[in-house]
Every structure is written in structure tokens, then in C-alpha cells.
């Protein structure tokens, strides 16, 4: 059976990867089982909780709903790829400072959603933050500390972007 499985190639967090898997195998399972990247979690298997969220070519998706065949040639970013060279992403730092993570199980997906949000919208309003995170369920925090974390990171990111712009200008 496995002889007939296709080889699927994509990059994960900048690294080229290759798997031989049944084509309908969920990207979530490929990440966790084949690539041993267990940062991405399964909370529901129905695309409702967002704890499996990753980014495909920059777009936020629920990896429990993506058949791995459709990841061919794609750039995937998971939570393991947020920090760069050992330095925490501003969101990760903000979650630490503001209490955005309690039990932590929703956190990887939440960070991916928040990362996309502030990348595309450097000055999100509270309504935009709520919409951006609406697909990520959290049962511990009541969301308040998460909103604060995202606002703090957005401010910091916007400030550092603007600093860079000023320096360049």
C-alpha cells in the first residue's frame, strides 16, 4: 500500500521537507507524526477550535482540514518557526509579559492567527483583533489577556517598523 503513496514536497519553517504519505492524510498528522513537529495541536478535528492553525503560503489554515497532497510546493509556517535564531517573536514575548497563555494548548494556533493579523494589519482595532482570533477557541483565559498581548505586540512591531523606516529615511 505505502509503495503507492505519493512523495509530497513542501517547506516547513524555511526548511525543505519531503514525506511519503497517503494523499488524504491530514497535514496536521503529517506535521505531528511524520515530521515530529508536535507544536501544532488537535483540539477538535472539525476546524472549529483553531488549535491546529498553521500558515500555508502566509494564509492561516486549519491543518486538520488540509489533505497533505494539497500542501505540495507550499511554504508552511508552524509555531516552531515563529522565533528566529533563538529570539522570541514580539507576540511570544507579549504573551509571556501579559499572561496570554495559561494551559498553553490553544497557544500555538493563537500565535499563528495573531501573527497573520498583525502582519496584515499593523494597527488592529479591538474589533479586528476579535475577528482575527475568532477561529481560535480558548477555554482558560476569557481572551482578555490575549487581546492585551496582541495589542502590545502590535504596538511594539509597529514601533520597530516605524523606527526602521525612520532610520532608513
Amino acid at each position: 500500500m505505502s509503495a503507492s503513496w505519493p512523495t509530497i514536497r513542501f517547506t516547513v519553517n524555511g526548511e525543505g521537507r519531503e514525506v511519503k504519505a497517503p494523499p488524504i492524510k491530514r497535514l496536521l498528522d503529517v506535521l505531528r507524526e511524520d515530521l515530529h513537529l508536535t507544536g501544532t495541536k488537535e483540539g477538535c478535528g472539525e476546524g472549529e477550535c483553531g488549535s491546529c492553525s498553521v500558515r500555508m503560503n502566509g494564509e492561516l489554515v486549519n491543518s486538520c482540514l488540509v489533505p497533505v497532497l494539497q500542501a505540495e510546493g507550499v511554504d508552511i509556517q508552524t509555531v516552531e518557526g515563529l522565533a528566529l535564531n533563538g529570539k522570541l517573536h514580539p507576540l511570544q514575548q507579549a504573551f509571556l509579559d501579559c499572561g496570554g497563555a495559561q494551559c498553553g494548548i490553544c497557544t500555538p494556533g493563537m500565535l499563528m492567527a495573531a501573527a497573520q493579523l498583525i502582519e496584515r494589519n499593523p494597527h488592529p482595532s479591538m474589533a479586528e483583533i476579535r475577528e482575527g482570533l475568532a477561529g481560535n477557541l480558548c477555554r482558560c483565559t476569557g481572551f482578555m489577556r490575549i487581546f492585551e498581548s496582541v495589542l502590545a505586540a502590535a504596538t511594539e512591531t509597529a514601533e520597530s517598523v516605524s523606527k526602521k523606516a525612520h532610520r532608513a529615511g
Partner: protein, 753 residues
């Protein structure tokens, strides 16, 4: 006095002890783990709510020789989950009493073959008539548990209620109901188990109470204490849902491990976790209240019933807490509370944040508003007039020796929420608006820690040690599942020993390594266990001074040097202390009388709710919570607990409904068991007042469960304020609001003006 002393670390918003792991995706939850040669396990469950198991057939299309099959017959010891009453079988044996009851277990290396095999087991039943409601159980239409379906009952009396009815100026009656509620931790239940003749049973998993699981496993396997080891893995939410259920799951995985000779992992998917595991007890509470002409309480007669499901599990203790919270933060000279927990043929109900108090407090705080209406009084004034004060006695005649500041909490809540101004504004705006707005309040306490003599019985042992590598470790069986246990206990240890926060770590929550400091439940961890750690830290210093040459003041280096001198003399550097009951705690378990709890946290919740008359839906627009919780040891963690509890309470009131069909949860998916999303939670404002509690760790009282007690009644009271209509039952979905509003409205008449 440590409770009021100035502190460096306790009280500061230090980073969470687990550091950045959760944010890096490096925290390891049980499903992230594997053991060499690991198989997977699955459960075959009852499809009927009650009946005899007539036969079990294995479809020949499966090669069963590849599988390990476990039934009740394979259990070496006692086929019971050990909680309070040993009535719940680990595996059904000849009879089932609820849908989704575990009958047999299968293990296989391949998850998919396992699923196929589970579907190929055919069970023939001899069905018996099931019962599903409190009323059916009371009537004993069928007797499904014990002699009379009654899992537990209490009677609590103060004064003489019967002497009051005749002469009372006002008597108000009401009946209130609450539904089941699912924890919906985002990480499902999961366990990995190993068995060997040499080492016995080892389990790793998502759980709150390693020693509870241990207590069951030693009996299931008939093994001595040291042959069973339970290790908690990073746990993705619990809320009480992993207090007792893991004992069942661990037993299952371990039995499969024993029989298959392989480690076995059992991680539920969401559909199974929703259908088969514990939920909050549904309740029905009847109030009859007598007041004088000024609205002062004269008598409260309360009849409270909970639905326990098919087995006793924790129904007696949930009932106990409900009973002890039923009369609320009010002074009433005559009280009678009769409470009963009834068995039905449903998945057993269990622990869930609040543990009986949300049910009791919903009823009481709704009833207070009903009383206010009946008497033409302001619901705020009614409460204020009846609050307990210093020196007053509760329904159990516990004297309030610690200060009670409900008046001030109420004042602050009214001020922060601008309660009266908003109410007045809504009263003006509502008549010409399709959206009706209202304000509602709830006033309540939550008893911290185990009831009465519970802590004495637990007899917790906890402490600290110092490793040769220079790490100071907190030794407790209390677990982190998001609420901040690891952070707060290491803060306390650092403070009491005089070290840096970074020098302190938590020893793993592993029964092979840490003493039994009791379960992580009942809002007891920081107050009770924190106190033990505080004492253990001080005891360590005196040990080091006596035998390690430690001076009155010391540097970090001097501390570790003293530890090594101590180690050379004594072998290990370990300071353990046992629980000591605060003086003057007297509790009569028979009469339900005396000091029910060592301390109370007090709170006022205010909700602003909007009811849309077009869609009949209610939403919380804003929420305020003022609470006195003893000393706040970590402001960010404490605030996070309050906010999270309120969000769950909002779900409990307006969104979360367990829909059963023939006793099986029909909406067992996240798409149709509805919790609030980031777009649904309102802004939540949290304010702390602090009266340090001298017997709690650095003055702390419990806070974990407190915030879940208030939202539901505050919200339904606000709906009453907005619409004039009283609702007596939760969850209150738009369809329920429609059943009342829609009935009034003539169907042909447009809802709009």
C-alpha cells in the same frame, strides 16, 4: 506576619515558571509523547442507557489474534474506580447503567485497524427502562442505584424556620434549574500506560490529581503503593474535568498495557470525550423565603436537588458544597436546607469549577431579584440590607471572624459599572429600541479549600528540597493546568527561603517523586499547599542554620554551601511539613454545623446584557467583577483566573447546552456544543480587594472557582431588568427567550415598532 509583610517576589507579576515552552510549541502534552513499542487503545461503549449485557460477539472479518481484548474479567483486583463510594465499575460487568459506559477495551499498533475493530464488536443487550430526570428518580419509577436512587442527602438547620411563616410580612417562593455543562478543555483526555511485572504500572497523562489516579490503580491491579507510579504531563485545561475521570482512563490504558505487553496510549477524540466523560451536575432548587416588612430575611427554606448520573462519583461532595453555598452571603436567623443527589441513567456527572456552588448561587441570586420585585424593592438594596458582617453567623452558624466587606465590594461594583446611571439610561432608551438593555448583579461567597474536616482527612504533606546540582525544588502533587500553580508555589518558596525566583523549580508531579499534598481542586492550592510551602521554606532555613552553618543573612553562594554541609551530615536536603488545621475549626459532619470552610472569598458581579427582540438572543455587553480574595500573589495570574471563570460562566448561562437523546450526548462536537469565541466575550473589568488570610500561603485565599459562581445569575437578572421577564432556568438560549417573548407577541404583528 508573612501575610502582611512586604515581599519581593510574592505579589509581583513574575514570568510564568514554565517559561517560553508553551509559546514555542515545546510544551509536551500527552499526545505529543510516544513510548517505544507503543500500541493504541480504544473503548467499546454501551449504546443503551440501561440493561443487561446478553452477549458480546466479535465479527469474523477482523483477525482478532492481532488485538488485545480486555474485559472486566481481566481486572486483577477490584473492578471499581475509587472515589468516595466504590460503586462505579472500571469496566461494565454484565450490566450497563448509562450510554457510553465502557464495556471492553481493545489495543493494536495501528489506530485505524483499531477503529475498524471497535466497530466490529456486536453487543446484544436486554434493555431495561432507563430514567433520565431528577423527577423520575425521586418518584422511583425505576430504582437504578442502591435501594432508592438516592446517592446522598443532607439536612442543614439553623434556628427554626417553621416558627416564622405565620407572622412573616412577605413570603416569596421560586424554583430554579441549571443544566449540565461540559468542561471543553481544548486538550482531550489522554493517558499513556506501561506495565511490567518488575515495575508494576506507570501512567503519564493529562490529569489534575496524580494521587487520586494512584488510589484507583493500586486497587484495580492489587499492587502495593510503590508499584504504581502516576506522572502528570503538561495538561491542556482541566476545570475539574480531569479530577476523577483520569482514574478511569488510566485504568483502561494500564489494563491494556498489562495484557498486551506493550505501552498503550489512549487519547480520546473530541466526539468521545464529549460523549463519555463527566460534566457539571444539573440541578433543581426550590426556595421559600420569609422577610419582614423592611426586607430583612427571617427564614430561608431551600430544597436543592442534583442529578448525579449513573454512579456516585463526586456527587456527595458536590452536593455538600451546593448545600453550604445555598443560603449565600446573607444573615438569616432561620434556615433549613434539604439537599439530595439523585441517580439517573446518564454519564456520571462530576467535578466542574465551582462544584455545586454555581448551581446553588444561580438559584439564590435569581431568587433575591424575585424577592425584590415581589416587595417593590431595589435588588441592590435588598442585598445590602441582608449582607453578613463581621461577627455574624452563617447558615451553619460559623462566626465570621475574618472581616467581611460585602458593602464595600458592592459600593465599588456599583461605582465602577456606573450601575444606576446605566440602568436609568436603558429604562429611557428601551421602549423605543429593538434591543433592550439591562443591568444585573450577583452577590456571593466561595468557600476556599475542602469543607470542614476535609483538609484534616487529606493530611497533606508537602515541602522543598535542594538538589546537589543547586536547584531548589518544590515537592507537591499539585498540578499546573494553566491556572498558575507552578508559578505561585515557586514564588512562595523563593520568598520564604529568601532566594531568587529563578533558583526555584517544581519537581515533576510524579507520585514516585513527590509526597501527597492533596488534589488540585476546591481552590485549595495556593491557600493550603502554598501555606505548607511557606512553612517548609522557613523550616529549611532553620534546618540549615542548625546543621549547615547558615547565617542569619546569607548570599546565594552561602545558601548552597550550607546545603552541601547539611547534605554531608544528613544525607539529603529535604524539608517536608504536614497540614495543620487552623485553630478553632470545628465541623460537625452529622449536623452539618460549624466552620464549613477556613476562609471565604467574597464577590459582586455586575452584567450589562442586551436582548435583541428581533432574534431573541441575549448577549453580555460588559462585565464587572469585584472580589476580596485575601492576598493576591500574582496580579496577572489572578486576573486571568477571574476573566477565564467569567467567560465560562457566560457560556453556562447563554450558550452551553448538553443535548441528550436517550441519554447519549447528541451534540458531541465543537460545532454544536457552543462556547463563546473571541467575538462573544465582553470586556471584563476585574478589581481586587485584599484582606490577607493569616492561615493561607502569604495571606492568600482561593480564587479559582469563585468567578464561575456569579455570571449566570447576574446575566439572567440583567435580562429581567431589560425585558421585565423572569427566567428561572439556564442555559437560556434564544429559543428559550422566544418561547416566552414570542408567545406574548402576536405572530402577525411585526416585532419592530
Amino acid at each position: 506576619m508573612s501575610t502582611t509583610a512586604k515581599t519581593r517576589i510574592v505579589g509581583a507579576p513574575v514570568p510564568r515558571k514554565e517559561g517560553a515552552d508553551k509559546l514555542l510549541g515545546q510544551a509536551r502534552y500527552v499526545d505529543d509523547m510516544e513510548r517505544e513499542g507503543m500500541w493504541h487503545g480504544a473503548t467499546v461503549r454501551s449504546s443503551i442507557p440501561r440493561g443487561l449485557i446478553r452477549s458480546i460477539e466479535f465479527d469474523r472479518r477482523i483477525d482478532w489474534s492481532e488485538f488485545t481484548v480486555v474485559t472486566a474479567a481481566d481486572i486483577p483486583g477490584e473492578n471499581h474506580i475509587q472515589l468516595i463510594v466504590a460503586d462505579q465499575p472500571c469496566l461494565a460487568d454484565g450490566m450497563v447503567n448509562h450510554c457510553d459506559e465502557a464495556i471492553l477495551l481493545l489495543a493494536h499498533p495501528d489506530k485505524h485497524k483499531l477503529r475498524e475493530a471497535a466497530g466490529a464488536v456486536r453487543i446484544e443487550y436486554g434493555p431495561l427502562p432507563p430514567i433520565f430526570t431528577i423527577e423520575e428518580s425521586e418518584r422511583q419509577d425505576q430504582v437504578v442505584w442502591g435501594a432508592d436512587n438516592l446517592l446522598k442527602s443532607f439536612v442543614l438547620e439553623k434556628g427554626n424556620v417553621d416558627s416564622v411563616w405565620e407572622s412573616a410580612a412577605h413570603i416569596v417562593e421560586g424554583e430554579y434549574r441549571t443544566g449540565a455543562q461540559e468542561h471543553l478543555y481544548i486538550e482531550n483526555n489522554g493517558i499513556i500506560a506501561e506495565w511490567s511485572a518488575e515495575n508494576g504500572v506507570t501512567v503519564w497523562g493529562s490529569l489534575q490529581c496524580p494521587y487520586y489516579v494512584h488510589k484507583t490503580l493500586i486497587k484495580i491491579f492489587d499492587l502495593p503503593d510503590e508499584k504504581v507510579r502516576v506522572v502528570q504531563t503538561e495538561t491542556g485545561g482541566a476545570f475539574g474535568g480531569k479530577e476523577d475521570y483520569p482514574s478511569t482512563l488510566a485504568s483502561h490504558a494500564a489494563l491494556l498495557a498489562m495484557k498486551s505487553g506493550h505501552p498503550v496510549k489512549m487519547v480520546y477524540d473530541r466526539m468521545e470525550d464529549l460523549a463519555a466523560t463527566t460534566k457539571r451536575h444539573p440541578s433543581r432548587t426550590r426556595h421559600r423565603t420569609a422577610l419582614d416588612k423592611d426586607g430583612k430575611l427571617l427564614a430561608m427554606e431551600i430544597e436543592l436537588a442534583t442529578d448525579g448520573g449513573a454512579y456516585a462519583t463526586l456527587s456527595s461532595t458536590v452536593l455538600s458544597r451546593a448545600t453550604l453555598h445555598a443560603a449565600g452571603p446573607y444573615l438569616c436567623p432561620n434556615v433549613r436546607i434539604r439537599s439530595k443527589s439523585w441517580a439517573t441513567n446518564k454519564v456520571p456527572y462530576g467535578a466542574f469549577r465551582g462544584f455545586g456552588a454555581p448551581q446553588a448561587i444561580f438559584a439564590l441570586e435569581r431568587h433575591m431579584d424575585e424577592i425584590a420585585t415581589a416587595m417593590g424593592m431595589d435588588p441592590v438594596e435588598l442585598r445590602r440590607r441582608n449582607f453578613l458582617h463581621d461577627g455574624d453567623t452563617t447558615a451553619t452558624e460559623q462566626v465570621m471572624r475574618e472581616p467581611v466587606m460585602m458593602d464595600q465590594l458592592l459600593d465599588r461594583a456599583l461605582r465602577e459599572s456606573d450601575y444606576y446611571a446605566r440602568r436609568a439610561r436603558f429604562a429611557r432608551e428601551n421602549p423605543s429600541s429593538a434591543v433592550k438593555r439591562g443591568m444585573g448583579i450577583a452577590a456571593f461567597y466561595h468557600g476556599s479549600g475542602f469543607t470542614g474536616s476535609g483538609e484534616r482527612i487529606l493530611n497533606s504533606l508537602a515541602g522543598v528540597d535542594v538538589t546537589p546540582e543547586g536547584k531548589v525544588r518544590v515537592l507537591v502533587s499539585n498540578t499546573e493546568f494553566g491556572q498558575g500553580t507552578n508559578t505561585v508555589l515557586t514564588q512562595i518558596a523563593a520568598e520564604s527561603i529568601g532566594m531568587d525566583y529563578d533558583d526555584i523549580t517544581m519537581a515533576a508531579a510524579d507520585t514516585g517523586m513527590v509526597p501527597n499534598s492533596g488534589p488540585t481542586v476546591a481552590s485549595r492550592t495556593v491557600m493550603v499547599v502554598g501555606r505548607l510551602i511557606e512553612r517548609a521554606g522557613l523550616q529549611l532555613l532553620s534546618m540549615l542554620r542548625e546543621h549547615g552553618g547558615l547565617g542569619a543573612h546569607f548570599t546565594r553562594e552561602e545558601f548552597f554551601a550550607a546545603c552541601e554541609r547539611y547534605r554531608a551530615a544528613k544525607g539529603e536536603v529535604r524539608s517536608l511539613v504536614r497540614y495543620e488545621a487552623p485553630p478553632g475549626i470545628f465541623w460537625d459532619d452529622e449536623k452539618y454545623h460549624g466552620e464549613a470552610y477556613p476562609s471565604y472569598a467574597w464577590s459582586i458581579h455586575v452584567a450589562q446584557v442586551a436582548v435583541d427582540t428581533v432574534t431573541f438572543s441575549a448577549e453580555v455587553e460588559e462585565f464587572w467583577a469585584v472580589q476580596e480574595v485575601g492576598r493576591v500573589l500574582h496580579p496577572v495570574l489572578a486576573t486571568g483566573q477571574i476573566e477565564g471563570g467569567i467567560a465560562q460562566g457566560i457560556g453556562y448561562a447563554l450558550y452551553e447546552k448538553v443535548i441528550l437523546q436517550n441519554g447519549h450526548m447528541a451534540n458531541n462536537q465543537m460545532t454544536n456544543y457552543i462556547i463563546p469565541t473571541a467575538e462573544d466575550v465582553p470586556p471584563i473589568h476585574v478589581y481586587f480587594e485584599e484582606i490577607p488570610f493569616q492561615h493561607g500561603g502569604y495571606g492568600a485565599k482561593g480564587i479559582g472557582e469563585l468567578p464561575h459562581d456569579g455570571p449566570a445569575p447576574a446575566i439572567v437578572n440583567a435580562i429581567k431588568d431589560a425585558t421585565g421577564v423572569s427566567f428561572h432556568s439556564i442555559p437560556l438560549l434564544p429559543e428559550d427567550l422566544f418561547a416566552v417573548f414570542g408567545a406574548d407577541q402576536k405572530i402577525e404583528e411585526p416585532a419592530t415598532l
